[in-house]
Symmetry: C3
């Protein structure tokens, strides 16, 4: 390659880089086998999903099967599941030629992530001290899907710029706040990304596909925010709050989007993303007694802030902080997430017995035996502190993972091949031949005009014509 | 503009008309702020979504959280929610270049409409006389979504011919029967709509997108018809009836559609729409003891009538009554709605204690204390009368709202710009560039052939070539 | 037609063959009317969906409406319903020009099939001996949807090669194992199918549409496998097992797909289909105590076997056994189905009281009074024998039905018109005109370049240009 021109060098570097025929299968196999072994050692059915439940039930004086936690949470679980696989997957199909990568890698990450999350959450939160086992039930599956959402948000920041192997590594160290993805994207900054500019936009149908993702996320966010809240009024209230908050977000998103263009035209990027900000922002406080109008107010401001983020902050982040955030997760997840943390902390700090009732306070804030002297104010403080710790972890963790991903072994695309499914997918022939019988000469011409692949031939004919 | 030719006038008038940069944000902001204030004054959580429920529950001798109304209705609610946002939204994406408007404005209308519906329904049906408040729970959310469906049906009649501002005004006076939309469409009659003829058809992919809408509506219609019926056998029966009725509709729709073409080919318009007519027609009677075969019979005739409506009545309505009904809501909602009213009235009038049992009669027809002397026959009469009142309200209300929408301040498109997303949306560049390295001369040529925007250049080159 | 050239003969034969204007409406009407009559004679609401339930409930000491079977199963039912109509329908839209047929005929078959299945299942499994009636409730609807799935799998084998009338006949004799479809496809072998080669691939957007089907099938398969299992821990466990099994399948599918290509690129066919194999394989054993890691292991091997099936076995089947299996149902349904049968038989045979508990054993394997002496080992034997009988029935049944479908009366397409919606659907004009004002000369040129229909004109101009 010593005598090679720049174009030739690029060609070889790309060829070398993006071959993942070894790394991807190895990572998939090794990790899946590791999962099987670790599940064999650690994971068991919990009481309510074990065939012995009939005895537990009798012991707990449960009279009907319908009181199995499964029936409280399964509809919400399936909604969350749709959000993870169809919602996040299709939301990212907006790029003109990255739909396979968007939906397909989303599918891969989430499938690995949910297994890994069951282990991680078990080890850190629910390892049974006596048996050393992790007992899983429907609530564990929901929590696993929640963890996966964090990884998919991070994917949104680096969409089109990383290989599936890198995505699996990112998922291994996944973190639930958007700052993790932004931090990785910062470390992986590509100064020559403009070379893929032609691929970075959407086309009409890809934007329509993306709306499938948007709508399933939007519709099922009430299930997301209520899936693991308290049985009864807790789940009921979380749904009402999220439903109202999201409705309000849509109106202010449309308003700001229309204001941002000379003739008031709407921008699909805003409609696809900012309309969801209200759901993110209620993540913490959905179950609280924030009142229906309180939910509307949160949504009102989230629509404004998120849309303005797309208009003003995203270009600033790219130019000044060198964060290339493909899906704008800063505007959809990071900022609204922080707002949500603040709303949650304030509402928790303001909680009073007159609003919640004594038992309501206990149910909502988990004031069980151990936490007896943790008052609502300290609860608010804890939540605020938790959010700060979470941001720091996200940024630092992202920086470390980003550095690992800079190693030249992961098969990531060259700067001029980003946002292109061609790199990791066998693409179908694009010619839609529905004519029944085309005479040879026309067939030939048609072929050239539409595909322009045999460049010399084609070039010749054009010059011939123009001379 | 004194010296302006007709074409030039059109150009300026269009430019002037469709600028909604002022009106749309103002309407969105003002209405959303009004919602926040009115919700602050009127809307509160109901007993089952309030943190005090634990006390209410004890008082009512409820032993398990699972008896919260939330668990009876939440799965149906989410299905209805999907129908509203994905079902109606995607059903209207069939036009070749109005997918953004179909899904996006549907999203906007529904988001405002559900808030407004919570207030309207509260004021008229469930205002608590003591506190002057409206108490909301999961059933209120379902009812709000139902109201929104009415507005979206009306949108179907004027799809592609109105501005989002006009749609928000329509929603303010929304009415749940299809005649409201038809009446508005009549008042807004455009004699020169043929100038948009080129945009009024579908393309292959837009028809496939529309089938997403059709199928989610079709699959979840059993949830729609059972969402607020009585707990237990009421919901159970409403699901069975709707499920069977819709299956029957599909077969007769296919039969008539095939009959209507010379070689028996099927028409996507019929499959997308008429297959749903059975669900509409069972709207009133789904919970009644109409028997499984009764449900099949209703579906049988609805498929025939609705498909024939698309073939014969829609052209008649447009030519004779000057009703330009973009989605054919007359055939999908108005006619089947009337059939449904009649079926409901007859079945109610025919209800007997031997079929329902004494308690069943009370449960199904809400014969509570106050209505003690309302017999099944009067019940049937009431339902028939209610339907007539509803039609009259729809037609008159539509005429009034239509007149308001004729004012030249709403930014609606010119006759030659209907059914075109270009008017209200920033559209993506349509060039799908997936070639890796195109020589400049070809790139240039390719650009011209596919986009033809720089007209003089392009024109020149063609003439150059042809000379 | 005596003097007719081959091309002319083909033209006439195709014209004659594919006209279904008589057969399709007749079959639809006759069968739907038969359904109405048979439902009138046989089908009634069951106890829990009848208005008299209030009395039954009191008799059975049921205290709350929530114990109606409806609330145990309705969320799962709706998920299954989505799998049938959106899942199977969109999974088959991958062909470039058969989306209407995929979604539309899927819709037709399923709508007829579910009615027919209610009758068939009733006659063979649940006919009430005293009244001679079939009593239906939510579980019947789920079982009907299950039966329909079998017919839709068979459709996958013959996709694009049969007429809707043939599909309705296939559904009449439908059988739930993939071998039925394969057997029909063998009998209908088309030696000249290569004449439709140009239509047999996918295009970019059609593959994206197919992913909608894949994902909805994948996400809701836990509901499919748990929909009719035992209340309580049974449903709970079936969901956990299927969820884990499917996640594992995705990773091994990706691994093998990547291994199969020179540069490790992924193949959409594998991602769309083989990722689902784990769900099929757990069809029998999902409810059993196979342990979370057991579920992962099943998924692990299914992903490998199914993907290798697409790479190695499908070409073999086509060349050697002359089975043209459009969707590869052998790899997605037949093989994993057999694996599932074996897994089920082994797990059943290995079931012990220490793992299930006494009552758990009774609940899971339905060891009720009559079956008291059927031990777990015999249960395993029964399941293995059942599977063998099922395969034989599928193959023989398919051969018979295939022979019937060879009669020249069903309007199936000619070999050169397979996989083409043109044959049975009114297709929209493909021109997407979103330019606002194109000068006539350019408009004309544009028209020619894009559509090339007026062949002589177009041909002339090209020659003119090249001379």
């Amino acid at each position: 390659m010593g005598n090679c021109s720049q174009g030739c060098k690029d060609y070889f570097s790309r060829q070398k880089n993006t071959n993942i025929r070894l790394t991807l299968p190895v990572v998939c196999f090794v990790w899946q086998i590791a999962m099987i072994i670790l599940f064999g050692v650690f994971i068991r059915y919990d009481e309510e999903s074990d065939a012995h439940w009939v005895e537990t039930k009798a012991h707990d004086n449960i009279t009907s099967d319908i009181e199995n936690d499964f029936y409280f949470r399964y509809p919400s679980f399936q909604d969350v599941h749709v959000m993870i696989f169809v919602g996040f997957g299709f939301l990212m199909t907006f790029l003109k030629r990255y739909s396979f990568g968007a939906v397909g890698f989303n599918f891969l990450i989430a499938s690995f992530g949910l297994q890994w999350a069951l282990l991680m959450q078990g080890w850190f939160h629910s390892l049974d001290p006596q048996t050393g086992k992790i007992f899983i039930g429907i609530e564990s599956l929901i929590n696993a899907d929640f963890c996966v959402a964090g990884c998919l948000i991070a994917y949104g920041a680096v969409l089109g710029k990383v290989s599936p192997v890198q995505l699996l590594v990112m998922t291994l160290f996944g973190h639930s706040l958007g700052y993790y993805g932004l931090s990785i994207s910062r470390v992986l900054y590509r100064p020559n990304l403009h070379q893929s500019k032609r691929m970075q936009g959407s086309v009409y149908h890809s934007d329509t596909f993306a709306m499938i993702g948007t709508l399933f996320l939007w519709m099922f966010w009430p299930s997301f925010n209520s899936a693991i809240t308290d049985h009864g009024d807790g789940q009921h209230r979380a749904v009402i709050n999220t439903y109202l908050c999201l409705a309000s977000t849509v109106l202010t998103t449309v308003a700001i989007s229309s204001l941002s263009q000379k003739t008031g035209k709407l921008d699909m990027v805003h409609i696809q993303n900012s309309t969801l900000a209200g759901g993110v922002a209620l993540g913490t406080a959905a179950e609280f007694m924030i009142s229906p109008y309180g939910a509307l107010i949160v949504g009102f401001f989230c629509g404004i802030i998120s849309t303005m983020g797309y208009i003003f902050i995203s270009p600033f982040l790219e130019k000044t902080l060198k964060i290339q955030d493909t899906c704008g997760i800063h505007n959809l997840h990071a900022m609204p997430g922080v707002i949500g943390g603040i709303v949650g902390a304030i509402t928790a700090a303001a909680a009073s017995e007159s609003v919640y009732g004594k038992q309501g306070l206990i149910n909502t804030f988990d004031f069980t035996g151990d936490f007896k002297d943790r008052t609502v104010l300290t609860q608010g403080g804890y939540q605020a502190a938790g959010m700060c710790v979470s941001i720091v972890f996200g940024v630092v963790g992202g920086a470390i993972v980003g550095s690992i991903l800079k190693l030249p072994i992961w098969g990531d695309p060259a700067d001029e091949n980003c946002f292109d499914d061609e790199v990791y997918w066998e693409l179908p022939d694009e010619e839609e031949e529905h004519q029944e019988s085309i005479p040879p000469i026309l067939e030939y011409n048609n072929h050239m005009i539409h595909k322009q692949q045999d460049l010399s031939e084609s070039n010749f004919s054009v010059e011939h014509c123009e001379s």
